[in-house]
């Protein structure tokens, strides 16, 4: 730990010389730089960490032969800030604050995974209402996250309008989340034992009003971006992640379902209120960027459907089980996972019976998608690189932790 030591430029915050962003890492030049009169010399292009289309601080080094990518290397770590390590110094009800900042546009899911893991070591009966509120919060959060993806994916492909429309709907949902949890983005709402607060009066009407127009808006969104011929030309057949590649890289979420593999943690290992909800898992066929687009758009529809069911059937009762003020789970090792916006988000928790976790591992699905990029980028044109990165919907906070 820092121990309050103040570092200045003079003492070397920048770590001069230790890491030079100008030099490509050894091992990138996998393809030969052929100069035989017919082929041009390969060029290495550095993309990121400051790039408007890398969705954060992803850095990709692409080696190009003319316009074509022949090799790619993904470099991560520009946002590493020790979420796993710091969790060992937080109490159980405060770890959620760190996890919110992992996958920061869908914080509810990581909180839920942590709560589920802790509850396995606590022998606590989570009230039925808490389960429903957890699902409700997760689904609302899933739509907000998908709307950001929708807006920025369009930006990557060269559109602007869809971003504004997507953000409009997202703001409406953020108001709902704020009423529910008190914050627009960093919730710490789902705690071990239940949820922080009950639904405020009148919120169900607000959610219903939102749902009343959302399906129509969603059709509009789909028309605006997916109905655009230029967009279709840029995503169809681009960035194919086929079944075997997806499985080999351990992809989950829409990236896996786009390839036609039917795996959704909400169905495979049901948690919260999902066993009682009626929803479908949309699947793609080829695993190209267009399939992933369609899967995510369909997922938003399903989420809206689930929110409707959750509001209608919201049970009565307490929203929090009786848990001690300072949670001390029994010693043990557990794993719990949820279907987050990007795939299976899991928490591997080791407890030694004290008030702090002994070790917490955060399994984020984006890291696997980022690794797969090295495999799928070669063979595409430079212009496709941003579209492919956008279509995998990677989240840097979760990759670097």
């Amino acid at each position: 730990m820092n121990g309050g030591s103040e570092e200045t430029l003079a003492t070397g915050v920048l770590g001069e010389g230790r890491h030079d962003p100008g030099t490509p890492p050894a091992g990138l030049r996998r393809a030969p730089a052929g100069v035989d009169g017919l082929t041009t010399e390969h060029l290495i292009i550095n993309m990121g960490p400051q790039h408007p289309s890398t969705h954060g601080v992803l850095r990709v080094l692409v080696e190009v032969d003319g316009e074509e990518v022949v090799a790619a290397e993904v470099s991560v770590g520009y946002l590493h800030r020790g979420i796993e390590k710091l969790a060992e110094y937080r109490r159980y009800d405060a770890v959620g604050t760190l996890l919110d900042r992992g996958d920061y546009i869908s914080g509810m899911m990581a909180e839920l995974a942590f709560a589920l893991a802790t509850e396995q070591l606590m022998d606590v009966e989570v009230p039925r209402k808490a389960h429903w509120l957890r699902s409700l919060a997760s689904e609302i959060n899933r739509i907000t996250s998908h709307l950001i993806w929708y807006g920025t994916f369009g930006l990557d492909a060269g559109g602007m309008g869809q971003f504004l429309y997507g953000m409009r709907d997202r703001e409406a949902l953020l108001d709902i989340l704020e009423a529910l949890s008190g914050s627009r983005m960093m919730f710490n709402y789902i705690r071990p034992g239940g949820v922080l607060a009950d639904m405020p009066t009148g919120l169900d009407a607000k959610i219903r009003a939102f749902l009343g127009t959302f399906d129509q808006y969603l059709d509009e969104h789909d028309q605006l971006l997916g109905g655009n011929e230029i967009f279709q030309a840029r995503v169809k057949g681009v960035g194919v992640i086929d079944r075997s590649t997806a499985l080999a890289f351990g992809l989950t979420g829409s990236n896996l379902r786009g390839a036609g593999v039917d795996f959704d943690v909400r169905k495979a290992r049901p948690y919260a209120a999902y066993p009682e909800l009626d929803f479908e898992v949309p699947l793609g066929t080829n695993g190209d960027a267009w399939d992933r687009y369609n899967v995510r758009m369909a997922e938003m529809r399903q989420s809206a459907r689930m929110i409707g069911q959750l509001i209608d059937g919201m049970p009565e009762g307490p929203h929090m089980a009786k848990v001690p003020r300072i949670i001390r789970p029994r010693a043990g090792e557990v794993y719990a996972s949820v279907e987050s916006t990007r795939g299976e988000t899991g928490i591997h928790l080791v407890s030694d019976g004290t008030e702090h976790p002994y070790r917490m591992h955060y399994r984020g699905p984006s890291l696997f998608a980022a690794q797969a990029l090295e495999e799928i980028l070669p063979g595409h044109l430079i212009a496709d690189v941003v579209v492919i990165i956008g279509s995998t919907d990677v989240m840097l906070g979760e990759i670097d932790r």
Partner: protein, 165 residues
């Protein structure tokens, strides 16, 4: 003000060129669209979205550091990233300003105890406005821009006073 008098056909306005340029600068603060972490969603995306719409203040994102006046450091800067932040700052043309958005950019925030995190971006680049919050609401960022505009106005006055005095 009698704006008609100023915009009339034969009207003339005498102003120092630096006053005029600073006036223009103040109302077209283009920022670098450079999101590092969570704060980028609130500080760069929501703000350019339809509800908060910073465009109406002349605040507009550009992707290249060569075209911007302001850098919003929106997120946790770690030691690997610090070099890039410094390099981007160096690439911006003068005059330039920096807004440290969020507790992370101001002090290290919730990750302060972690040795890899730079304890405030003012360790590597000079900061003009600090915005507290984790993440600050878009309204706070708006306020930060208003403060920055005031700061620029003050700069003009001070320079004029120094010249005249």
């Amino acid at each position: 003000m009698a704006i008609e008098r100023l915009t009339g056909e034969h009207s003339m306005l005498f102003v120092r060129s630096e006053q005029l340029f600073d006036l223009a600068r103040r109302h077209s603060l283009w920022y670098l669209s450079f999101g590092i972490a969570c704060c980028a969603i609130e500080g760069l995306m929501s703000t350019s979205g339809p509800r908060f719409d910073f465009d109406r203040m002349g605040v507009f994102p550009r992707s290249s550091p060569r075209q911007v006046d302001v850098m919003i450091v929106a997120g946790t800067v770690n030691k690997k990233m610090a070099e890039t932040v410094k390099r981007l700052y160096d690439q911006m043309p003068e005059p330039k300003w920096v807004i440290a958005m969020g507790s992370c950019a101001s002090t290290g925030g919730p990750f302060r105890e972690y040795p890899n995190v730079v304890l405030g971006v003012d360790k590597i680049v000079p900061v003009d406005v600090y915005v507290p919050g984790c993440p600050p609401r878009p309204e706070s960022v708006q306020y930060a821009f208003i403060q920055l505009q005031k700061k620029i106005a003050k700069r003009t006055e001070e320079r004029l006073a120094a010249r005249n005095g």
